[in-house]
């Protein structure tokens, strides 16, 4: 993914109460163009409320949501062209055909009449909806409806795309394609993605923010250099063998032939792989290790007391 550009979204001390209960408290977040932020949290953590505030649907009780430096709730029309939002339940007018509905959404988002047809065609293609373009959405499966919801969120090429559980209802193949799509979107847009699926975050996101009981408990990068690698080898090795490789910062044994390896900040994965092969470790497996994020997430979810944000 490209390097982060200017800040697109900034949440400053955003809080929101619903029915007298604080659902989100003092949330601070920033997101730059070309970044994908994964918002994680257990049910009731405040993810959906946060996303609704980011999308311009729900005004914060206090604090500000800024889009390109301007307050979204003082200038709600900013959302029209610059934000795309897929809520948890795709907001579809099911009696219409996919194509007709998307054309309406394009016009609603302020696209010129002449730009509607190409935008709809592009969104249909990106979300692989071409074969159901003329079918009433009431007849579509849940997976297709989710993809129409995604198509309406991206068809006006917004700067910021807000996706609430986009993988919900998708089969594994569709979920994989969604990851690719989000990764692709992240190259040109800022994307905020809420999900329960840790591997989705691992695969799509540059950064992760973990919410728990309405508070931001963790915010950190998921850059390759910060990630742990899961390495499988055919030889029985000791920690010192790994630490003798220049790119390795730390190592932890999973079992006799599998290791969790962290690289030094400047080290590249191919450099590490070349070193391991060069030393004849019998490299058999090398992949990103999701368990470090999982450990962080589970530790936060299990914690009763507020932890410090990283």
């Amino acid at each position: 993914m490209t390097a982060p550009a200017h800040t697109i979204l900034a949440l400053q001390q955003v809080s929101r109460s619903l029915a007298g209960r604080a659902v989100v408290r003092g949330l601070n977040l920033e997101l730059a163009g070309g970044e994908v932020l994964g918002l994680l949290g257990v049910n009731g953590a405040g993810k959906t409320t946060s996303l609704r505030m980011i999308a311009g649907v729900l005004a914060p009780t206090s604090g500000s949501v800024r889009l390109g430096g301007e307050d979204l709730y003082e200038q709600p029309e900013l959302a029209r062209r610059r934000i795309g939002y897929l809520p948890e339940t795709p907001p579809l007018h099911a009696e219409l055909s996919t194509e007709e509905f998307l054309a309406f959404c394009a016009r609603l988002r302020g696209l010129a009449r002449s730009a509607v047809a190409p935008a709809v065609a592009r969104a249909l293609e990106r979300c692989e909806l071409g074969d159901v373009r003329r079918r009433p959405m009431a007849q579509l499966s849940k997976g297709y409806r989710q993809r129409v919801g995604l198509a309406q969120a991206i068809l006006h090429e917004p700067e910021l795309i807000v996706l609430d559980e986009p993988a919900s209802g998708l089969d594994p193949v569709q979920a994989l394609k969604l990851r690719e799509l989000v990764r692709g979107l992240g190259e040109d847009h800022a994307v905020v993605l809420s999900t329960h699926v840790l591997s989705d975050v691992q695969a799509c996101c540059d950064r992760v923010a973990i919410l728990h009981r309405g508070e931001l408990r963790y915010s950190g990068s998921l850059g390759a250099n910060d990630q742990a690698l899961r390495v499988g080898v055919s030889r029985r090795l000791h920690s010192v063998d790994w630490l003798s490789l220049p790119p390795v910062a730390s190592v932890e044994a999973i079992d006799a032939t599998h290791w969790r390896v962290r690289l030094k900040p400047a080290a590249a994965i191919d450099e590490f792989a070349a070193a391991a092969v060069g030393r004849g470790f019998g490299l058999q497996e090398l992949r990103a290790d999701a368990s470090s994020l999982e450990h962080t997430f589970l530790a936060i979810a299990a914690a009763a007391a507020p932890a410090e944000a990283a």
Partner: protein, 253 residues
């Protein structure tokens, strides 16, 4: 096209692709056609006796205006059925965020929904009015008076639609929205009934009542005071509906 116009056209399109609107239109037209034929038959039986009377009421007085007046009563029931789903239906189907997140503004959402629903009500008025107008081929009609009555019905429908939109913005369920709209419209229809029973017809309470302002149109009188009443009613109802959407945005319903 303005955003409100876009939403209005979209509303109209959504109504057209659903059987609900067609069924409603078919029932209304069948009901009014039946009533039209009955009153026409009654007129034809009465016509020979009317021939000898000076300034006898014509087909406009005995067939057309009663039919339109009767349709006015039906509109009180009908319009809430048209408007109930405009906003409450969106909330129930969880599709309101599509409009709220589009940044087009609550007033334009309300106006678009209003114009869309009113368009359908006006089509029904034209359909019903076209039946007695067909008599023009064979009988002299008081076209001016009929035009005034249709104009009055249009203002009446505009007010009822605004009340319906307001109820739909307040209620989370379409059925509740329809019931609330019917209750408000009925209240406005009978608010001066007590006063009228006591012979009071020119007091403030009479001004509040819907029939006070609709009836002159049926007599062929187009008065600015009546038009102002309907316009005010529409403006207040739509402003309240917009306020309700503002509140929903800050309450996250």
């Amino acid at each position: 096209m303005s955003v409100a116009g876009l939403i209005a056209r979209h509303e109209g399109r959504r109504l057209l692709v659903q059987p609900f609107a067609w069924t409603l239109a078919a029932i209304v037209v069948a009901l009014m056609a039946w009533q039209f034929l009955l009153s026409l038959q009654g007129f034809l039986q009465l016509a020979p006796k009317l021939g000898g009377i000076k300034d006898a009421p014509g087909v406009t007085d005995l067939v057309v205006i009663p039919l339109l007046r009767s349709f006015g009563n039906l509109l009180v029931l009908l319009v809430p059925l048209i408007t109930m789903r405009t906003l409450a239906g969106e909330r129930r189907a969880q599709t309101l965020p599509l409009l709220l997140a589009s940044g087009v503004g609550n007033a334009r959402i309300v106006l678009g929904k209003y114009v869309g629903a009113l368009g359908f009500a006006l089509v029904l008025i034209l359909l019903v009015a076209s039946m007695p107008l067909a008599l023009g081929f064979g009988a002299p009609l008081d076209v001016g008076r009929i035009a005034a009555a249709v104009l009055g019905l249009s203002f009446f429908a505009a007010a009822l639609t605004a009340i319906g939109i307001l109820a739909s913005a307040w209620a989370a369920q379409p059925a509740l929205a329809a019931a609330a709209a019917l209750a408000i419209a009925s209240l406005l229809a009978v608010v001066d009934a007590g006063a009228r029973l006591q012979g009071i017809s020119n007091a403030g309470i009479n001004y509040l009542a819907l029939p006070t302002h609709l009836e002159p149109f049926f007599r062929g009188l187009v008065a600015s005071v009546d038009i102002v009443y309907f316009v005010l009613l529409v403006a207040v109802a739509l402003a309240l509906a917009t306020r309700r959407l503002d509140a929903l945005r800050s309450r996250a319903d």
